[in-house]
Amino acid sequence: MFIPIRNSLQIDNYVASLISSSLYLGIGVGFLASGSLTKYILRNHIVIVCLANMILLNLAFFIFEGVFVFTISRTCIGLCIGIQSPMISGIINDYIPTKRKSFILISITGFLAIGAMYVIFIGLIVVPHYELSRIRLCYFLFLHPLMIVFVFTFLFLKESPRFLILNRKDSEAFEILTPYTNAELISEELQEKIKREVIESNMQSISHRDLSSIFSFPFLTMTILLLFIYTFCYSFTNATRLILSLTLSDSRNLNDSPKSDLAKQMLVYFAYLIGCVGAGFTNDINFLSKKYLTAIGLGMISIIILIPCISQDKIYVSIAIIHLFLPLCLSLINTITAEIYPKNFSEIANLFFGICAKISTFIANFIFIPMASSDIYLPYYIIILLAVISTVMIVFLPSEADLINMGIMRSSDSTKSKQFGKR
C-alpha cells in the first residue's frame, strides 16, 4: 500500500522513509520492553492488550487520517508487534513437542508472508489503479481480520502451564492441564510432589534474569560480537522490500497491468514462505552444515543481487532470492544461541539479536530511500558489501570443535548435548 498511502497523504519519499522506519523503531523498543512485562503480566493477556491497541490505532488512522496520526499509529503498532511477537513465540514454544519445536517455530513465520499476500490481494481488488477515493475501504479491510483474531485470542488463548508453574501459579497451571490429560495423572499427590520439587526450590534463579545476563559469560564475548555484526549486516536486506516498492513505482508505465506488479510482489513473499519451510527442514542437518549453507546462501545473495545492475526489470527476482534465504539467516542465530546457552538464556539472546535486527532495518529504511532517490543501485551495492561481511562473520563463528574445547559441548555425544541445549 506504499504508493496509494503516499499519494493519499501527499508526502514525498523522504517522509515516507521516516514513517516506514518508525515502525521498526517501535518494534525494537517493543522487543526491549517485552522481557520486563512478562514479570508482571501473563503473556496471553499481553497479546490481547496488543491486539486491542492495534485495533484502536488502526481505527484512529481510519477516522482521522493525516501524516502525524499515521506516524504515531505506525510507531505504536510497531511497539505492539515488538511486544506481541516474543509472547506468541514463547507460548507456542511451550506448547509444541520438543522434537518438532525448531521446525514449527521457524515454519510458522511463513504466516507473515501469507499476511503480506492478503494485503496485496486486497490492494489489487480495491485500489487496482490507486484510486484515492477507495483507500479508506482498504484500511477497513485490514482492520476486520484484526478484530476477528482479537475475539478468538480473547476467548481461547491460554497461558502455558510451564510459564504458570515457573511463576508460582501452579493451581492455574493444573486448571489448564486438566482437559488435556488424564485427571488421575495430576492427582493431589503429584501436585504436592511438584510443589515440593519445583516450586519450593529456588525458582527466583529462573525468573530474575535480564538482557545483561547473556553477557555474563566471558568465553562467549567473541561469539556474541560476531553474531551482533552478522545480525546487523544481514538485517539491512529487510529494507529491500521497500526499495522494490520504490523501484516499481519509478519504473511503472501507465500502460502496465496491475497484475504484473502483483505477480512480482507475490513472488517475493512466496519465496519468503518457501524459505521459512526450508529453514525449518535445515534443523535436521547438523550445526556446521547449516552454518556453511547460510554462508553459501549469503554469498549467492551478494552475487545474484548484481542482476539489477544488469537489468532493472529483474530487481524483483534478486529480492525474491534474498527472501528465500532470509529465514535461514535468522534461524542460524537461533541455532547458535540454542547451542551456547541454556533455554532461558537463549530466549533472551534471541530477543537481543531480534532488537539488533530491527534497529538495523530501521537504519536501512531510513538511509536507503533517500539514497535510492539519487542512485537506485547505491543501496544494492551497500547490501552486497554487508552480505559479504555477514558471510565472513559466519565463517569465523565457533565450530563444534571450538564449542567442545570451550566445554559447551561434549565430544562423545554432541547431538544429545545439542538437544539438551535446545530445550
Binding site: I3, I96, I108, F111, V119, L185, K343
Partner: protein
C-alpha cells in the same frame, strides 16, 4: 559463578573447571546422555545457581513431556498462526507496493 573447583584437584583440572560453563559443571555430575527420564531428580546435586536452574528446567520438561499437553496443541498453534498472520498484515501493508 563457575569458580567452584574442588580443593585438592590437580591445578590443570582446577583451572579447566574454573573456565568451564555451566553445562560442563553439571554434566560432570549428572549424566544427561540417556535423557531426562533416566535419573532421579532427588539425586541432582545443587552446586550453584545454574545447576538449580537446569534442575528446575528438567523437572518442568519432565512434567510437560510425561503429562503431554504438548500433544493437544492444535488450538494454540492455530491461534498463534492467526496472530502471526495479523502481524504480517500490520507489518507489511505500508511497505507493499499494493
Amino acid at each position: 559463578m563457575f569458580n567452584e573447583a574442588n580443593e585438592g584437584e590437580p591445578s590443570e583440572t582446577k583451572n579447566r573447571k574454573q573456565n568451564l560453563p555451566f553445562y560442563s559443571s553439571v554434566e560432570e555430575e549428572i549424566d544427561i546422555s540417556g535423557g531426562i527420564e533416566d535419573f532421579d531428580n532427588d539425586e541432582i546435586p545443587i552446586r550453584n545457581t545454574n545447576a538449580i536452574l537446569i534442575k528446575n528446567e528438567l523437572i518442568i520438561e519432565q512434567i510437560i513431556n510425561n503429562y503431554g499437553y504438548g500433544r493437544n496443541n492444535l488450538k494454540v498453534l492455530i491461534l498463534c498462526c492467526m496472530n502471526i498472520f495479523i502481524i504480517g498484515i500490520q507489518y507489511t501493508y505500508y511497505i507493499n507496493y499494493y
